[in-house]
Symmetry: C2
Subunit: 271 residues, 2 copies
């Protein structure tokens, strides 16, 4: 999917919502646990109930890997379901991978070819030759961690290198990498005031923004400073939507929470 | 496994060699491709031929994920084989994971509990609350990237924060984290001169050292500056050993390459 197609979907649905599919068997409704593949059944119900309110889904691979083979199988079924039934949806493998050249290529193949995700999240610590292998894939997007929404972000990301925070350094240097137009960035919502400066460095890139809701970020502030004329934002919500209820009404309650966010987004897009 | 047990194994085998099991179906002997699980059969043959010459095996998860479900299954069979047949071997899931708190816990469960590895590699970019969840596991080890052996290491890792390179900052700050005694660090062999300073920061920690051989690092230089009185080094070699031959003699040739390194290590340990 191209970023133009993504922006068109955003305009059409009046939503730039991404729903995080972080499925924890301890949190999903008990009645699903008797099914053969509770993780996939949970995802399927959530997707069917919310696909018209969002433009992206983001399974975090950790939650699937934790269940071994059956988890990986559920991830495969989930992405296949999305690609078959809702091909207009932008898909993100939230994997935060990063390794040396040829090994990064293997990760890229895993997520872009074997699983056919539109994008994957990567970590920047190992630098250019750990990220460029992901950027080599046509019509795929690599979403690099810049400023994350956790408290540990202040350990290294906001430390100054030559009077400039590491995360800004990461943003700037990455622009010189081959196929850098395929980069998007993770920027946490908990620090909305940082978006203004980030937009001076990467005015055109899409930003994937976790931390609205559960982690305390404010949607309107993020949009005020972070939105560009292609919208340029994907706001992620995971637990706040998918665990809105753990009863038999879980999918409907998830849709209700997604609708709240979509309506707020529609209002912002209309301003 | 405790670090004392690891050091004892090193003394017993006169080896601090770690063999990287980075299995690429395009590189393994063609006669294996007809078998039901060529990845596992390759690993099993390599392990059986080399286990007495090394103290650790390190599958890089990228190579397994690239083959989807069958890859993940081969990884599971490989770690089960190691834990059952060679429980004295230290096992490393080279996964370079890192995520926010509860998500890191899911990754830790995936590698420490579901797959029962002794250790996992993690990336430091997201800071303390992304790594501490891994450190909460008793008798398990978390191997954090410090200074990697690729050229991209110079993009961020060696950049100065307050006149101190980021990777040194990473080493120092991590020492204050809870259960930091369970940390080990990845330090690339291509920069042997850096080991001296690294040892002033983390004198007691084990260092996992890639980049000897294929990537050009020199074993004797690394040992000169990096070894401590518990040995404190695991030298990894992947391609140089496992792809020594792609004929039917691949396991014997791998053993021969491993023996060369083990003998060099025995000499160094005897000095």
């Amino acid at each position: 999917m191209t970023t133009e197609q993504l922006t068109n979907e955003i305009r059409k649905k009046k939503s730039f919502l991404c729903i995080g599919l972080d499925v924890d068997l301890n949190k999903i409704p008990a009645h699903l646990l008797d099914l053969e593949d509770p993780i996939f059944e949970f995802n399927k119900a959530i997707i069917d109930a919310t696909h018209h309110l969002c433009v992206a889904y983001k399974p975090n691979t950790a939650f699937y890997e934790a269940y071994g083979l059956k988890g990986w199988k559920a991830l495969e079924k989930t992405i296949n379901y999305l690609n078959t039934k809702y091909p207009e949806i932008f898909t993100i493998a939230d994997a935060k991978r990063g390794d040396i050249g040829n090994t990064s290529t293997m990760y890229a193949k895993a997520f872009f070819e074997d699983l056919a995700f539109d994008s994957v999240t990567v970590a920047p610590y190992m630098g250019k030759d750990s990220v460029e292998p992901f950027l080599a894939f046509d019509n795929k997007h690599t979403i690099m961690l810049a400023l994350t929404s956790n408290t540990g972000a202040f350990d290294f990301q906001t430390q100054n290198i030559d009077d400039k925070a590491l995360y800004k350094h990461v943003l700037e240097i990455s622009k010189s990498w081959e196929n850098s137009e395929r980069l998007m960035y993770v920027v946490g919502a908990t620090k909305a005031e940082y978006f203004k400066e980030i937009r001076t460095i990467v005015p055109d890139s899409f930003l994937l923004v976790p931390g609205v809701g559960a982690q305390g970020g404010n949607l309107q502030d993020v949009c005020k400073y972070g939105m560009n004329n292609q919208v340029g934002l994907l706001i992620n919500s995971s637990r706040g939507i998918i665990y809105a209820s753990n009863g038999t009404d879980f999918a409907a309650e998830a849709a209700s929470k997604a609708l709240d966010l979509q309506q707020e987004m529609e209002m912002i897009l209309g301003l």
